[in-house]
């Protein structure tokens, strides 16, 4: 039996009014005001121009937060296994495919099709970074972040490999929006490793629980948490931002949640719990 322990080295985040971890941490910790605004997703500079033109919002979002986390960790990106966790894929692309298939001329473009697969962000990530390390791509609906974190913790704990978790979800256009209302895009990335180092932000110890999930005191953040599956990471991000060792319960499945103890690293590299 192997405990689910990992050390966080870095964070990438992009969401409504939250750009980059350093700024987002200040907002989440209450050191700066929260100014909600539509998520602005940058074009992925790491992709060759031909590929860059073909990518949709979810690929761009996943790459943006992934690159931010890797840059902060200073790890060689090709050594990182990856876990991509998302409830949906590219909503706009999916909508156009379904519309086309409902019509008389059902021909699709090749780009539409290859962007439709749930692992399109994983594919583009490996092309952009030349990383041949294993990549997993999973979904657990609203619990996708917790499922991704659990998978990443298993990789770190069992296989003893450094792992990059990238969780993201974007909005669907109408009419899909009515059945899957995700108001705006949110993405988060964590570099998780098996050993503590000088760059460690915190130690995580996780287990399953049937306790209710942690909600956030600030209404704006709680609304965000509940509205986008990837934003279910916010209780963890808030604890990291506050620099305070604590425990959170992350939303996973209806009858099982993920309890995470967060021990923040102090200046001498020790962990308070």
């Amino acid at each position: 039996m192997i405990p689910l322990t990992a050390f966080i080295e870095s964070v990438g985040v992009l969401g409504p009014g939250l750009n980059h971890w350093s700024d987002a941490a200040a907002v989440l910790a209450g050191r700066a005001p929260y100014v909600p605004a539509r998520t602005v997703i940058p074009a992925p500079a790491s992709l060759p121009p031909a590929e860059r033109r073909r990518t949709g919002a979810s690929v761009k979002l996943a790459l943006a937060v992934g690159h931010e986390a890797v840059a902060m960790s200073r790890r060689d990106v090709t050594t990182l296994a990856t876990v991509f966790a998302a409830s949906g894929s590219d909503g706009q692309n999916c909508h156009v495919i379904c519309e086309t298939l409902a019509g008389e001329d059902r021909k699709l473009s090749p780009t539409r099709f290859h962007n439709s697969v749930h692992n399109a962000p994983a594919g583009y990530w490996s092309i952009a970074t030349r990383a041949m390390a294993p990549s997993n791509v999973l979904c657990a609906y609203d619990g996708s972040f917790a499922a991704g974190l659990l998978e990443s913790l298993c990789q770190v704990a069992v296989d003893r490999v450094p792992t990059l978790l990238i969780a993201f979800d974007t909005d669907y256009p109408a009419p899909m929006r009515d059945v899957r209302p995700v108001p705006d895009a949110f993405g988060v990335a964590l570099v998780l490793v098996p050993e503590a180092s000088a760059g460690t932000l915190a130690r995580l110890d996780a287990r399953l629980t049937d306790a209710p999930c942690t909600t956030l005191a600030a209404p704006g953040f709680e609304q965000l948490r509940a509205a986008n599956p990837a934003a279910r990471a916010l209780p963890l991000l808030e604890a990291l931002a506050a620099g305070r060792s604590s425990s959170v319960v992350l939303d996973y499945l209806q009858d099982v949640q993920l309890h995470v103890d967060i021990a923040i690293s102090n200046d001498s590299g020790e962990f308070k719990s």
Binding site: I2, R106, V117, N119, L138
Partner: protein, 420 residues
Amino acid sequence: MNPLLLTHFTATSCVGRGLDATLAALRGQRGGLVPCGFERASLDTWIGEVEGVDAHPVRADLRDFECRNNRLAQLGFTQDGFADAVVAARGRYGAQRVGVFVGTSTAGILETELAYRRRDPQSGALPAGFRYAETHNPYSAAAFVRRYFELQGPALSISSACSSGAKVFGSARRMLETGLIDAAVVGGVDSLCLTTLYGFNSLELLSPEPCKPFDARRNGISIGEAAGFALLERACDASGAFAAPHDEAILLLGIGESSDAYHMSSPHPQGLGARLAMEQALATGGVAAREVGYINLHGTATPSNDAAESLAVRALFDGTPCSSTKGATGHTLGAAGALEAVIAALTLREQLLPAGINTTQPDPELALNYLLDSRTVNVRTVLSNSFGFGGTNCSLLFGRADRTNRLNSLNALTHPGTPL
């Protein structure tokens, strides 16, 4: 890695429902591909459609999940006493100690395609009663299995295109290893839909005839649908000692995963990612390439896939018998890894190497020992390859317990006192 036991397994595809039908088709070298007449697909291609899927609605209490993909899943896991085995595992370990790991590429997207035909002409709204979460969302497949068996453990769907049904074994293995769960229901289920039929058509990858993997005249894939499931349990006790099961038991010995980092819809031309996955499967299983008795190839029958895979295989193996069973079943996409894992388990149980059907002239340039006739042989270790779109690769290595039991006995003789 510590080997895992496949205590039960089952598969349903166009060649038949359950293991007996699958085995009879493999033995008789019969395929299930037919000219495409699915839904509104007017395409010159052949498909592997499972007969009668829509005649079997999902269990009444789960009707929110009603869609072809979940009907196929249910049709699949109720064969061969598999459902009873899951219920028994739940009884043995508790509902919270059984995990669910299901691979799918498109889940029930067909339901959304159909709903888009029935949008409100004024508002454009989808029809009332359309259930996104339980049909279209990739997690619907795992959620359906979890609800059907009233399980309360961790669950997820893996959707890494055509490696999905293989990669579930990797995630399940890690979670079993941590001790969070004691058993895992792993599987893959993918069903026919217009998205994949027209999608592969857009890439000009559909064959106008039944696909011919590794043939000199291969000209594309035939899309199929399938449900394959296995129940995974630890083969080692709490002290790490291998609890020797009966000799015919099937073990998952090794897993290899890699990324091509090359292109979204073309494999690495030298098959580098594929080679890494196979190497890692052998390494984690502690098995030498020469010990592998059969390789179930990914073998989609596109010119580029089979060429790249043959380079990867030849870099590691020397004349190992191999075939792609996609000539019989079609390419079942997110289910293929699980379907072919079950076929690999069947080859070990039955000591039968399945022929690659439809193929008559193996491409001499690919230079593999490609099986044109099914044959009965002594086989103890087999490899199953699954490679997908976006350059995602997974190889699974399976073995019979008698091989591991024998090695452990030898080990005990040469190193007395060491735990088995």
